[in-house]
């Protein structure tokens, strides 16, 4: 059974002698996945195969980055969550490119609405378990 402390916590807690401890390198830090604007999602499908994004892979998506041409994004396209590479059509609207010869570029005439959810910053592929 746990005893519960009386009084308030505001007075502070003992500072330890571990002031010189340095934590080991952290994937959380590298991928920045603890930031409140970073999301982790799972890939379904092969249309981005040639940039190394495979079916079943994991993507790190950052909503704090403004999407630019050339970036790979997660976007709501006609209310479907799609992963594509952004390019610009001559009229300045977005083209949605795939990275697989079987999948054609989606042109502005082919979608009704597009809203970029976030920019893909990393992909994770498992090679063994």
């Amino acid at each position: 059974m746990l005893s519960v402390l009386a009084g308030t916590a505001a007075g502070g807690f003992p500072s330890p002698a571990s002031d010189y401890y340095e934590p080991p390198v952290s994937l959380d830090e590298l991928l920045n996945i603890r930031a409140p604007h970073v999301w982790i999602v799972r890939v379904q499908g092969e249309s981005m195969r040639d940039v190394g994004i495979y079916d079943g892979g994991v993507l790190i998506v950052d909503r704090s980055i403004t999407a630019r041409t050339g970036q790979i994004v997660l976007a709501y396209v006609d209310n479907q969550p799609l992963v594509k590479r952004l390019a610009k059509a001559p009229d300045d609207r977005w083209l949605l490119e795939s990275a697989h010869p079987d999948y054609k570029t989606i042109t502005p005439e082919q979608y009704g609405s597009i809203e970029v959810f976030g920019v893909v910053t990393w992909d994770l592929t498992q090679h063994a378990s």
Partner: protein, 428 residues
Amino acid sequence: MRVDERRPVFGLVDVNAFYCSCERIFRPELRQRPVVVLSNADGCIVARTAEAKALGLKMGDPYFKVRGFLEQNGVAVFSSNYSLYGELSNRVGLAIESLVPAWERYSIDELFVQLDGIPEPIIEVGRAIQARVLQWTALPVGVGIGHTKTLAKAAQHASKVWREKTGGVVDLRKPEAVEWLLRRMPVEDVWGIGRRMRDNLARDGISTAWELSQADARSMGRKYSIVLERTIRELQGESCMELEQSAPAKQSICSSKMFGQRVHTRKGLQEALATYIHRAAEKLRKQRSLCGALRIGIQTSFHGDGPKYANAATIIPAYPTDDVRQLTSCALRALDGIYRPGYAYSKAEVLLMDLRKRGEYTQDLFTPSQPERTDALMATMDKINRRWGHDCLRTAAVPLTPDWGMRRALLSPSYMTSWEQLWKVQCR
């Protein structure tokens, strides 16, 4: 705008239809469809979108009564997914923290922020909060600003009622704006005025917030309660409630505090969490509720150069409880999962969610005046736990819930807290 700089300025940030908005992030096809979320205790509606409201659906409508209607009208129905809502609620707090000097979580979807000392126009800070929360968390919020917490809450109410006109941000500091709004605001929409108090006030000839604000605070305090007196003073513009000093919310209880000095050890965090749980459980028992889910969070400061870390975890106790030992052991177990050494922690937080009234869940078994029946319940719990395994905490709770089959069917995935259930996005 001329504003007295010595007076405090509070903001209330509130997520629009929070539970429903969370579900819509991962199901964008539902963005134009009505959505409701059900409680998992008794299967009634606890959250609804504007489209669902327009269909005439009300908070508290029992699911079994409206089920056919929901199907006919294409309403998307979800069970409460507390691990999802808890994670997103945590992120909303972190997004707001990056913009304001001090804040306090009031409930799972509402936060008070301190805005005094920030250069005018403060309404732009409100808009910045709205924009950042939307950008980072994909959740829409409204912001109310006022010289007291009660007026900030009223301003937020106005931002909802006149969302088109206000863009969801309302600054209610000018006296003429306060009068304009309070004259149009039914007294039961004032923060802290319940149904019973509304009926009392109706007998006194008070039906609007404005009429209440014109009443004599002291004599009303003597006649009813100190809480009402405080509410009247706050409506009059006199701040009576500091940050972190608010009454408990109905559906969630939060206990959190910035540490006086940084905490570097697991033991320090354990002590802080135990203390907050102790407080939150006290509030829980005071309002005679049981807690079905709790969330703990720890974080370093977002400001400064030091290494930054923030994480949180949601735990479902074996059964809804107000037992401080049970809640504390849940919290400490969760801490073990998220604690990382080497950081200077600045804040810990405890959020009790999925609150139900005693008895609502298992009829009269929980009645405190009958401890032998409580013992009987504990024995039943132990039996269930033995049968289903001590690790199978959710399962242990399930057989007591009359609608558990349905509950599981309508529960959305734990998109953000389980590797197995991550949000699936399409490469096609």
